[in-house]
Amino acid sequence: MSETSAPPTRVDLAELSAMFEAVPYAKFLGVRLELKGDELTAILPYKDELIGNPMLPALHGGVVGALMELTAVAQIFLAQGGKKVPKVIDISIDYLRSGRPVDTYARAHVTKLGRRIANVRVEAWQFDRADPIAALHGHFLIKSDEGAV
């Protein structure tokens, strides 16, 4: 796991939450953030409209994916010291077990923070962090003034 070269300026929870709360879709899902030291946890409190399969019932896979995307964005924002909001280029999601109708948590790790691209891994879990329900890895554009994305 590579470290970033320059120590990022500190972003506090208020700044991070302000960036997040300005995103209507984060509010639509109901995602909130918790920051302890430099450890960021995204929390998706359960509500009925997040369900994708009412028979099991299970959370919609897209919702779990979206939660992990948002977690990645917030973690990069934190790692960068809060500059531009990164934009997703691609993601790959492994679904490990169906999401139960309870609160879901996610944490991200920025594997590499380059000049233009950030590589990120995210895991989402419910009851046991060691037993994740889904994992994501993705690439995010962190300088959007020149790219097409």
């Binding site: 019932p57 897209g62 994916g65 979206a66 077990r97 169906s98």
Partner: protein, 158 residues
């Protein structure tokens, strides 16, 4: 319709119900445009509360993710001869460009290969009629015939 009717035809006539029965699809206002054999077209309208970038008003990538996931699942189902339970194995999405503010996004998913256990699906998302200029592309795999019982997830894991 009798029992000889292919599953996808039954799905096509129950298109609206498939969305109504999925709370998150309903919350996003998703609509089934068409269901044909192994293929599903589903769309979602731009909405203020679904915006992901408040500066530009572009819809959140998460909405596109859910739309693509959902359309891929319906396409896999539409490739079956009889209903079974399915579970998403993985989903890969490339986001080529932001969708235009205010535009309806349409996902076109095709289950191009079905084995005994796995459905392979590809999908594109568009924000216009121009099919050479997609917003995003997806590739998904689904496990078919999982033995998930109704109400299984109401109990905490063992």
């Amino acid at each position: 319709m009798n029992d000889e009717t292919p599953l996808w035809q039954k799905m096509a006539s129950a298109g609206a119900m498939m969305i109504q029965g999925t709370p998150q699809a309903r919350a996003l206002g998703m609509r089934v445009v068409s269901i044909t054999e192994a293929r599903a077209v589903v769309e979602v309208d731009w909405r203020e509360d679904l915006v992901g970038d408040p500066e530009t008003g572009v819809i959140a990538s998460g909405v596109v993710t859910t739309l693509l996931d959902n359309s891929c699942g319906v396409a896999a189902f539409a490739a079956l001869s009889e209903p079974t339970s399915t579970a998403t194995l993985d989903l890969r999405i490339d986001y080529m460009r932001p969708a235009r503010k205010g535009a309806t996004i349409r996902a076109d998913a095709h289950c191009y290969r079905m084995t005994k256990t796995v459905a392979f699906v590809r999908a594109f998302a568009f924000d216009s009629a121009d099919e050479t200029d997609p917003v995003a592309a997806a590739q998904a795999a689904f496990m078919m015939g999982t033995s998930s019982r109704m109400g299984k997830n109401r109990r905490p894991p063992a």
